[in-house]
Amino acid sequence: MSAFNAIGDEREIDRDEFTPGLEPQPTWCPGCGDFGVLKALKQALPEVGLTPEEVLTVTGIGCSGKLNSYLDTYGFHTIHGRSLPVARAAKLANDGLTVVAAGGDGDGYGIGGNHFMHTARENHDMTYIVFNNEVFGLTKGQTSPTSPKGHTSKTTPHGNAKSPIRPLSLALTSGATYIARTAAVNPNQAKEIIKEAIEHDGFAHIDFLTQCPTWNKDARQYVPYVDVQESDDYDFDIHDRQEAQEMMFETENALYEGTVLTGRYFVDERPSYQQQKKELGEMPEEPLAERYFDDDAEWERSYDLLERHK
C-alpha cells in the first residue's frame, strides 16, 4: 500500500475544497490581478481531476508568494526567487505529486532568473506561473525586470534606462516545452491554459499578466487583449520554434504599446527531465519517497562498496 494515498485519488472534486474553510484575509489590494490567478487555479485543479492533497504549490516571496496561503493544497512558501529549486526537488523526490510553482516578475525573472533558465533547460515536469505586473508590489512600487523602459519609481527617479526582459523568448531559448501568456482580465483563457500546463509533461511556463492597481496606477493596463489563437490576424504553428519565436517577439514588443496579446505560443513534446532521468537509470521508476515506507525495500549498504578500498 502506498504511503501517499491522496495521490491518484479518483473522485468528484468540488472546487470549494481548494478554498480554506477558515478563509484568511488576503493581503492583496482590491482590484489586484493576483485574485485572477487564485481563481483560475481553483477552477483548473478540480477540472483536471486533482485533489488538494496531491498538489504541492511552491511559491517565492512577494504578493505572488501568498498564493498558497489562500489556496488549500500542500504548500511551500519559500524565499525570494527560490521556488523553482525547491519545487523541482520535491517533484524528483516524489513524482506522483503535481507540482505548481509560482512567483512574481522580480522573484521569477530577477533574483530567480538563473533558476528559471535552468529549470526550463532541464524541462522539469511542473507548471510555473509568473505573476507579471511589471513592478515590485509588496516593497512598494520599485522598478522590476519587466517594467517598461522609462518607468519612473523611487528607484528610477529619472526613468528606467533598462529595456524589459522578454519572458516568453527567454523561456523558449532556455528550453521550456509549454509557453503561454495569459491575464487576470481573461479568466476563461487563464483557466484553460493552467489546465493544459498542468497536464503537459514537461516544464510549462505561464507569464500571467496581473494588473497592480496600487503601483501601476492604470489598473486596466492589460485591456484590451487579443487571444492569438482565436484571432484571424495571427496565424502560426505552435509547434514551430521559429514561428513561435517571431510571435513572442511581436507580443513582447506590443505589450508596452497598449496591445496585449495572450494565448499559447509554443508546445513541444520533448520528454520531461524526469522521463529522461528514468531512461538513463538515474531516477527510480517508483516515487523515491515511497521507498522509506516500504518494509520490503532492500537498502544497499556502503559495506558493499568497500571491495575497491581493500
Binding site: 504511503a3 504548500g75 526537488a89
Partner: protein, 633 residues
C-alpha cells in the same frame, strides 16, 4: 626519525601519476599489515606545480602525517618544463628534488630521477655536502631511461616503486597484486617487468648503508583504505540518504562525486545544479517531499547556502549540509586546508537561526558523525552541518572494514503515517497542525505532501500551528521558543544516549591541557603522547560538537588544568572564541597555537608550542605557527 616507521614522499608535478601511484603503494603497505596515513599536497592547477603525497606507515596506529619524512622519491617535471620568463603561473619550476629537502629527516633516503635532472641542477643544491651533514643516502637512478626501455616514459612511477621496495627490502607481492587489479593486460606486462628490473638492479648493484627497512605489523581484522570524503559519503548512504544536490567546488567535490557515482545504482538521485543556492534549496525540497537529502560546499559556495539553511530551520525541514573548509577569505587557497569557516558556519543566516554542527577529526569520526548528523536532522527537523576541511577530505587512513558493517537507517525520524495523522489536530479548514506549540522536545511531527489528512503550509515566514503566516506576538514567542528548545533536547540526547563525541588523550591528572577540534586532533594526540613520553604531564581533548556546545564536558576539562592551549588552523582563534562565548569565562586560562600557512599541523609544531607556552619564552616559534596569549597577558 625512528626506523619503526616509514614516511615515504613521492614528489613531482600534478599529472605525473603521483596520486594513483601513491594510492596503490599505500594499499600495498596496508595489505602487508601496517597502519597507514596519507597526506596530499597539491596546487590549484590541473598539470604542473609542485605536488607530493606522503604515506606514513607503521606497525602501530598513525594519526597524523608525522614530522618530516624519511624517504623521498623525486620524480620528474614532465609537464612544467620551460617556464616563460616573468609569467605569473608558468614560472613555478618543478623541483621535486630541491623543493622537498628541507623536511627530509636525518638518515633519510633520496631516490631521484637522474634522467630528468641535469648535473648542473644537482650541483646547485650542494647535495653531497647536505647529505653528509644529515646522513642522507642518495640514489641517483635514471628512471626515465628504464621506463623508456620498456615502452613509455610515464612508467617511471613503477620503476620508482620497484626501487623503493628494493631499498626497503619489501616484498613485491602486494604491489603486483594491486597492479594486476588496476591495469589492463596491455600495460600490465611491461609494468611488471619494469617493477622487477628496477628492484633487481638496485638489489644487485648497490650496498645498503641505510637503516630504514619496511616496518612490521599485523592487523586484527580486514582493513579498508578510506579518505574522509569516502567516510562521509558512506555514512550518508548508510543513513538512508538517497538524494544529493551540489555544485562542484574543491574540496567538497570529492563527496559530491562519490555520492553521484553510487546513488543512482542504489535507486537514489544526484543532481548537479546551477549554483549552491539551488543545491541547498533542492535538498530542502527533496526532504520536504520525504527523502533523506544532503548538500554541501566549501567556504565560498557554502556562503550561498545561507538562505536555504535559514529556510530549512524556519520550516523545520531536515537537511544535512557539508562544509569542507579551505583557506579563505574569498577564493583563498583552494587546495590548502584551514579551519577558518567555523564562526561563519555556526552563525550564518539571519535571525536567531540555529543548527547542529559536528566537526569530525578522522576517518572513523567522519563516518560516525555523518550517521549522527542524519539521525539528529530527521529526528529533530533541524539542519545539521558537518564541518571538516581539505585535509580530512583528501587524507587516507586504514580503518577496519567492520566499522562500516552496519545496518542502513531508512527512518525518516519524526514523520507521521496517514493513520497517525488522523488523530492529530487539524484546524477548521482541514489543515493539519504541523507546527504545534506544546510538544515534547520541541519536535512537532510532520506530514509529507501526498499524504491524506496532512495538508499544511510550510513557510519561511513566522507561522501559526497550521502554517498560516502570522505576526501575532504570543505565537511568535511560542514558536521561537519551541524551535530553540530542540537544541537543548539534542544536547541532552548527545550527553545521555551517545558516547561522547569528544576524544581524550594523555594523562588524566595532568595540569596542562591541549584543546583542539576537527582534523588537527590527530597531530595533537600524537604530540600529547610524545610530551608524556618525554616526562611532561599533558592531556588533550578533541572537540567534535560545535553546536550545541558540550558545556559540561569542556568545563570539567578546563577546570581540571591550570592552563590550556587551544590548537587550530586559523589566524583569529575562532574556536577559542567559541569556548569563551559558550562557557562565559576562562579568558585568562586559554592560549592559542595557530597555524594558517596552508599546511596542517605536525606533532612537532604542537610540542614546540607547548614548550614555548610552558617556558614562557619570548622566542617566536620557528615553524610557521603563532601563539596568541591568554586575555590579560
Amino acid at each position: 626519525m625512528s626506523d619503526h616507521e616509514l614516511i615515504w614522499r613521492i614528489a613531482g608535478g600534478s599529472g605525473d601519476g603521483i596520486d594513483s601511484t601513491s594510492q596503490n603503494f599505500a594499499k600495498a603497505l596496508m595489505r602487508s599489515g601496517l597502519d597507514v596515513f596519507t597526506h596530499r599536497h597539491y596546487p590549484s592547477r590541473i598539470r604542473g606545480g609542485h605536488t607530493y603525497v606522503e604515506i606514513r606507515a607503521a606497525g602501530h596506529k598513525v594519526q597524523s602525517r608525522g614530522d618530516g619524512y624519511n624517504f623521498l622519491l623525486a620524480l620528474g617535471d614532465s609537464f612544467a618544463r620551460n617556464p616563460k620568463e616573468g609569467a605569473y603561473y608558468g614560472n613555478e619550476e618543478i623541483k621535486p628534488l630541491s623543493e622537498n629537502l628541507d623536511e627530509l629527516n636525518e638518515g633519510g633516503i633520496i631516490v631521484y630521477d637522474s634522467g630528468l635532472l641535469s648535473e648542473d641542477d644537482v650541483s646547485e643544491l650542494d647535495l653531497e655536502e647536505r647529505a653528509e651533514e644529515n646522513d642522507w643516502h642518495v640514489f641517483p637512478i635514471d628512471l626515465r631511461a628504464m621506463a623508456k626501455e620498456h615502452g613509455r616514459e610515464v612508467m617511471r612511477n613503477t620503476a620508482g616503486v620497484g626501487v623503493t621496495a628494493a631499498l626497503l627490502e619489501m616484498n613485491l607481492e602486494h604491489i603486483e597484486d594491486l597492479m594486476r587489479d588496476a591495469m589492463p593486460e596491455k600495460i600490465l606486462e611491461p609494468n611488471l617487468e619494469i617493477l622487477h628490473d628496477a628492484h633487481d638492479m638496485i638489489t644487485e648493484e648497490y650496498d645498503f648503508e641505510h637503516d630504514l627497512r619496511i616496518p612490521e605489523g599485523d592487523h586484527e581484522g580486514e582493513q579498508a583504505l578510506l579518505s574522509g570524503s569516502n567516510a562521509i559519503a558512506y555514512g550518508a548512504i548508510d543513513s538512508g540518504c538517497r538524494f544529493i544536490a551540489g555544485y562542484p567546488m574543491t574540496p567538497w567535490t570529492d563527496v559530491f562525486t562519490i555520492m553521484s557515482q553510487n546513488l543512482p545504482d542504489m535507486g537514489g538521485i544526484s543532481e548537479q545544479v546551477e549554483d549552491e543556492i539551488a543545491a541547498a534549496a533542492l535538498a530542502v525540497g527533496a526532504s520536504h517531499a520525504g527523502v533523506k537529502a544532503m548538500s554541501g560546499s566549501s567556504g565560498g559556495g557554502f556562503a550561498l547556502m545561507s538562505e536555504p539553511l535559514g529556510l530549512a530551520e524556519m520550516t523545520e525541514t531536515p537537511i544535512v549540509l557539508l562544509e569542507s573548509m579551505r583557506a579563505g577569505p574569498s577564493t583563498g587557497m583552494p587546495t590548502k586546508p584551514e579551519q577558518g569557516d567555523l564562526e561563519f558556519t555556526l552563525y550564518t543566516s539571519q535571525g536567531d537561526s540555529a543548527r547542529v554542527v559536528f566537526a569530525p577529526a578522522n576517518i572513523e569520526e567522519a563516518y560516525e558523525q555523518t550517521r549522527l548528523a542524519f539521525h539528529i536532522a530527521y529526528e529533530y527537523q533541524i539542519p545539521t552541518i558537518i564541518i571538516y576541511d581539505q585535509k580530512l577530505s583528501g587524507e587516507n587512513e586504514n580503518v577496519p572494514v567492520s566499522l562500516l558493517d552496519r545496518e542502513p537507517d531508512p527512518s525518516l525520524g519524526s514523520t507521521l503515517t496517514e493513520d497517525e495523522l488522523e488523530d492529530l489536530p487539524h484546524d477548521e479548514s482541514g489543515k493539519f497542525h504541523r507546527f504545534q506549540h506544546d510538544v515534547e522536545n520541541g519536535v512537532s511531527p510532520r506530514s509529507l505532501p501526498g499524504q491524506k489528512g496532512g495538508r499544511y503550509l510550510a513557510t519561511g515566514n513566522e507561522h501559526t500551528p497550521a502554517g498560516h503566516i502570522s505576526e501575532d506576538p504570543d505565537n511568535r514567542v511560542f514558536q521561537m521558543d519551541r524551535r530553540l528548545e530542540k537544541l537543548e533536547a539534542i544536547r541532552a540526547e548527545l550527553d545521555e544516549e551517545h558516547d561522547s563525541n569528544q576524544t581524550y588523550a594523555g594523562d588524566e591528572s595532568a595540569d596542562f591541557g591541549i584543546i583542539t577540534w576537527g582534523s588537527a586532533q590527530g597531530a595533537v594526540v600524537e604530540a600529547t603522547e610524545r610530551l608524556n613520553d618525554q616526562g611532561h604531564s599533558v592531556k588533550a581533548v578533541g572537540v567534535s560538537d560545535m553546536m550545541p556546545f558540550p558545556e559540561a564536558e569542556l568545563t570539567e576539562f578546563i577546570e581540571s588544568v591550570d592552563q590550556a592551549m587551544v590548537v587550530e588552523m586559523n589566524a583569529t582563534a575562532q574556536f577559542r572564541g567559541l569556548i569563551q562565548k559558550e562557557l562565559g569565562r576562562y579568558g585568562e586560562k586559554l592560549t592559542s597555537l595557530l597555524k594558517y600557512n596552508g599546511n596542517p599541523f605536525e606533532p612537532a609544531d604542537i610540542v614546540e608550542g607547548y614548550e614555548l607556552n610552558v617556558d614562557g619564552s619570548d622566542a617566536e616559534p620557528d615553524a610557521q605557527v603563532r601563539i596568541e596569549p591568554a586575555a590579560g597577558d
